[in-house]
């Protein structure tokens, strides 16, 4: 079970945020999928689009086995070593949205730019986790709820629609507001 009080102090001055690359070409992208239906296809589609349109060098995939728990420390460490940026999602329920934000903040704290994706029904949960982690206003990207029932073509279309904001989150030196 996730401990929402772990991580940066709630009195920390703003979210910890890793330095951003100016461009994504040549970079390795981590894909951190949760067990929710269509999370992996969504992230795979984003990974393919990043390679095709932004010249990323490859992906490192991992699939969490728990909806509620944060990414295991060993997996976090491995991805920090192997990846230049990470994508995390898709938060399509209350607890997995909160966990995705916690994971994003953990990667940022470890120096790896992260972009979290949640569905828009779960902003409340995602924002609450950000506050509890000492990162109020932590920025993430939303797609319409629900994602789980969509077919493969619709999932790819959602990924295509989210791509510009995800790229901005990974490369923008100035934090964007949570959307």
């Amino acid at each position: 079970m996730i401990d929402p009080t772990a991580g940066p102090s709630a009195t920390a001055a703003g979210p910890p945020r890793a330095g951003r690359p100016e461009r994504l070409d040549g970079l390795v992208v981590g894909l951190v999928a949760n067990p929710k239906k269509n999370a992996e296809p969504f992230l795979d589609a984003v990974g393919e689009l990043l390679a095709a349109e932004h010249g990323t060098a490859g992906v490192v995939r991992t699939r969490k086995t728990s909806i509620t728990d944060p990414i295991p420390p060993a997996t976090l460490d491995e991805l920090v070593r192997r990846c230049d940026v990470v994508l995390i999602g898709v938060g399509d329920c209350g607890s997995c949205s909160a966990a995705a934000v916690a994971d994003g903040i953990a990667f940022e704290g470890a120096g790896v730019p992260a972009a979290v994706i949640c569905t828009d029904a779960f902003r409340v949960s995602a924002d609450a986790m950000a506050r509890l982690q000492g990162s109020p206003g932590y920025a993430y990207v939303t797609t319409a709820h629900p994602l789980a029932p969509l077919d493969a073509d619709a999932v790819r279309e959602r990924a295509r629609l989210a791509l510009p904001e995800l790229v901005e989150l990974l490369t923008s030196a100035v934090p964007v507001a949570a959307r």
Partner: protein, 76 residues
């Protein structure tokens, strides 16, 4: 107590997306919040209580530790 009805409404919508419902009962300076599960609710989808308390604290205007929070698992 200063209840932010907009925030509560947003929380109800979030809970409903996972097939949960929320009842809020005020009593003097305290508040009891009971979450109930619908037939399609998944137990793992409900956020841990500390997160829910943080959300409710903002919505209800009362200290998080003064909120009596009842989850479906508490009734079993």
């Amino acid at each position: 107590m200063s209840i932010d009805e907009n925030a509560l409404s947003g929380l109800r919508s979030t809970l409903a997306a996972d097939d949960y419902r929320m009842a809020v009962t005020e009593s003097g300076g305290s508040v009891e919040v009971t979450i109930t599960a619908g037939p399609d609710a998944c137990a793992d989808c409900l956020v841990p209580k500390p997160i829910m308390r943080n959300i409710l604290h903002a919505a209800l205007g009362v200290p998080a530790d003064s909120i009596v929070l009842v989850y479906p698992a508490d009734a079993s």
